[in-house]
């Protein structure tokens, strides 16, 4: 490595370090993010869904049912309103998410073998609660129907074992793969923290060109006769190394301290992250070369970085988006990274499958650097022409 390159590398390190806000953002942004998201998802799963039971019957049978619901996993009975209207108000105010109404004469109807209908109400306004509550209610519905059916069959003179066999010979075993506890912290914390990290990286990379040309020292650099390729290559190397170094404690904290799964192993993940850092640097350089000044460059970069998480398939599956949007989302390196991250950390499907993610990030970096080079050359030509 020549002395000139060493000087340029050292200069870039100093440039990042002297920009106080950027320094703090890079050093602490992702770390604070990982701790924040761990605190948000510290409960990990939604279990005690607030539930109310309106018992309009007050019979022994209804009390048995109430007791059964109280012991159900995922539902936590916290209120016993006296009427349907009270339940309605409770749900509207967000006091409970689920309400179960036991009708009048419930016990008598069961005893006489008459049909009776329970009502379950779920507040669908928060889907995190609603999907869990809905599953819990479906399980209760099946159990209650089967128990009542068996009792009725026995009442009709059918042997208990035959009655039980009519209902319960098939058992559907549920097995969630890759994240058996359906843990939200495993699913989201690392991805969200890395999303903040990629935003910090983009902010830093956006200074690559705009940060230089906006300074007086730019004239000195031009006068010194440095090749633009060498200058920006040195800047890119320093930034990519810095980005990877900043990501390291995030992985260490998430993996070692908080046991977030990383099935692919640390090295593969680091290599994938390094490649993503290169593509982020290329996107930042491109934005920087198109912008008039550093503020505009940051805005351009963030206009891409902000919605990328929604597009990346973490909050809504990529496959469920319209076809044209799937193609658009794949233009962004963030989509490839977060999809790849999910596969690597949970499934580790092997190089055959993952190679496309590595190659896509590389291709995006090549395209962005090429366009940025053209834009920088064009700008220089314009400045020279204006000068002459």
């Amino acid at each position: 490595m020549s002395l000139q390159q060493m000087t340029l590398l050292r200069r870039e390190v100093l440039t990042i370090w002297r920009d106080r806000s950027l320094r703090y953002i890079l050093l602490f942004g992702a770390l604070i993010a990982v701790l924040l998201f761990l605190a948000i998802y510290s409960a990990q799963v939604i279990k005690a869904i607030p539930t109310a039971i309106v018992d309009l019957d007050h019979s022994n049978t209804s009390l048995e049912l109430t007791s059964y619901i109280r012991n159900t996993e995922n539902l936590q009975v916290i209120a016993y309103p006296q009427s349907f209207e009270d339940l309605e108000d409770l749900i509207r105010q967000g006091g409970v998410v689920t309400g179960i109404v036991i009708p009048e004469n419930y016990g008598r109807d069961i005893a006489l073998g008459r049909q009776t209908r329970l009502l379950a109400i779920i507040d669908g306004s928060n889907m995190i609660y609603a999907t869990n509550a809905s599953s819990a209610i479906l399980t209760i519905a099946r159990t209650i129907a089967a128990e009542a059916g068996i009792k009725t069959l026995v009442g009709h003179g059918v042997q208990y074992s035959d009655a039980q066999a009519a209902y319960q010979t098939i058992d559907f075993q549920e097995e969630p793969w890759y994240n058996p506890a359906l843990n939200y912290a495993y699913f989201l914390v690392l991805a969200l923290a890395l999303n903040i990290w990629q935003q910090c990286c983009i902010l830093s990379a956006c200074m690559t060109v705009a940060g230089e040309t906006g300074r007086a020292s730019w004239l000195q650099i031009r006068a010194a006769g440095f090749s633009r390729l060498r200058l920006f290559a040195c800047k890119a190397v320093v930034q990519v190394v810095a980005f990877v170094l900043v990501a390291l404690p995030v992985y260490l904290l998430a993996g070692m301290v908080f046991s977030i799964p990383m099935r692919c192993g640390f090295l593969a993940l680091l290599l994938f992250t390094a490649l993503f850092a290169v593509s982020l640097q290329s996107v930042g350089t491109l934005m920087s070369s198109l912008a008039r000044n550093a503020v505009d460059a940051s805005r351009f970069g963030m206009i891409i970085a902000l919605p990328s998480f929604v597009l990346s398939g973490y909050t809504w599956p990529l496959e469920a988006m319209p076809r044209w949007l799937q193609l658009l989302a794949r233009v962004f390196p963030q989509t490839w990274f977060f999809q790849g991250l999910n596969y690597l950390t949970f499934k580790n499907p092997g190089w055959d499958f993952m190679s496309r993610y590595f190659l896509a990030l590389l291709a995006i970096a090549c395209v962005c650097y090429s366009v940025a080079a053209v834009a920088i050359s064009h700008n220089s030509y314009r400045v020279r022409r204006a000068g002459s």
Binding site: A33, I128, T139, A141, P176, G214, A305, N342
Partner: protein, 405 residues
């Protein structure tokens, strides 16, 4: 009023002259809303790829497969036939769920021995995981009913008797406020409020820093114009544009994405106005205390994701660390998002959201207080020769750091 109007017109000219700012104020909110709208347009997961490993190949196993195959939300992928293929397909995302029917399944059932069918699903992404679980439970309940009915026929019951027995106790489930459990209804209003929050803060957050960088803020400080007029004039354009964006985005969401936005219109307007006052005045207060547009841009942009995910809009506040939940309540977004959901989706009245209105009102007063209380003393600001110029020359001097001189 003429002074306020003059400052407001000057600010509008700035917005129109700065192309990036103009795009951010007028276009980016709609661009983001259109993008997020397109993402959540389908709202409900359908055609979930399902792999079936049928090791029995009997009439009963085909019945199980058909029940899943005919379900609205699942689509059987024929390429998967063995357990290894299912494992590989799950690992590569070709299928997201699988049903494994064991050998001798039908025989065991006919002998009244308990037989296990395994339902596996991909929970690496919990949007898939939880929805597949819910849909699968619906299908399983339906299968149980059909299967029990078939068994009862075997026991010699008539059709009417079977219906009576199966319906002895039925649990009717009603889902209120979002009956189809549509993700667009759930997330889109919250995302609109976040877009307004961030774009609003970011545009007005640069209004004073820009003046400082162009060395024109000194003229405001040195003038006899009272502070409230400076704040009013500077904030007015952003307040109006933000409010128009709020109304337009809600109308677009309701008209084109069929997002359920009902409830009391005056309450929705009141909430929007309070939220807008908070954003605009907080943005001004941040701007007046910052020296650098770049720092404001960087910090405000980084806040978007943490604000949304910590707000309780998706993950309930009750499940967060108590200290964090208390800190979150210091921000306007969680109160606004909660109140907006209560009014627009649940049709809540002023009584139900009284606390939210009160807190938002207090926040509006506080942010106005901080916006209005900036120092107008000249020595509070570093004065340099070029600060007395407010023209292209001064700007050129500042941008080139003196080189062009």
């Amino acid at each position: 009023m003429r002074q306020v109007w003059g400052i407001a017109v000057y600010e509008v000219m700035h917005i129109l002259k700065d192309r990036t700012l103009m795009l951010m104020v007028f276009l980016v909110p709609f661009l983001y809303a259109a993008l997020f709208g397109a993402v959540y347009a389908s709202g409900v997961l359908t055609g979930i790829p399902l792999g079936v490993v049928d090791l029995d190949h009997s009439a009963l196993s085909r019945e199980v497969v058909d029940t899943f195959g005919n379900a609205q939300h699942f689509q059987v992928v024929p390429a998967v036939a063995t357990y290894q293929e299912l494992e590989r397909a799950m690992a590569t995302g070709v299928v997201r769920a699988g049903v494994i029917i064991p050998v001798n399944f039908e025989q065991q059932v006919s002998e009244h021995r308990l037989s296990q069918v395994e339902l596996v699903y991909d929970s690496s992404n919990l949007i898939w995981g939880y929805n597949i679980r819910r849909y699968a439970l619906t299908v399983i309940n339906q299968f149980y009913q059909t299967h029990a009915a078939a068994n009862l026929i075997g026991l010699g019951f008539t059709g009417k008797e079977i219906n009576d027995i199966l319906d002895t106790v039925s649990l009717n489930t009603e889902i209120w406020y979002n009956p189809a459990l549509n993700y667009c209804n759930f997330l889109f209003p919250g995302l609109i409020l976040l877009i307004l929050h961030q774009i609003g803060l970011l545009s007005i957050g640069l209004t004073v820093t820009r003046e400082k960088e162009r060395h024109c803020w000194l003229h405001y400080l040195g003038s006899a114009i009272p502070r409230w007029k400076i704040v009013a004039g500077k904030c007015l354009p952003y307040f109006l544009v933000n409010f128009c964006n709020y109304a337009l985005l809600l109308w677009l969401a309701s008209s084109f994405l069929n997002v359920d936005i009902g409830g009391s219109l005056p309450l929705i307007i009141l909430l929007g106005a309070l939220y807008d006052v908070i954003i605009t005045s907080a943005g001004f207060a941040i701007s007046v205390r910052s020296s650098d547009s770049l720092v404001v841009t960087r910090v405000l942009m980084l806040l978007s994701i943490p604000i949304f995910f910590s707000s309780g809009f998706t993950w309930p506040l009750a499940y967060m660390q108590p200290l964090l939940a208390d800190l979150v309540r210091l921000m306007p977004y969680p109160w606004m998002a909660e109140a907006f959901r209560l009014v627009s989706q649940k049709g809540a009245g002023a009584g139900v959201i009284a606390v939210n209105l009160l807190v938002l009102g207090i926040m509006a007063c506080l942010s106005l207080f901080f916006a209005l209380n900036f120092s107008k003393r000249l020595n509070s600001w570093r004065v340099r020769p070029q600060d007395f110029y407010c023209n292209d020359h001064a700007r050129r001097v500042s941008e080139t750091g003196g080189v062009s001189c």
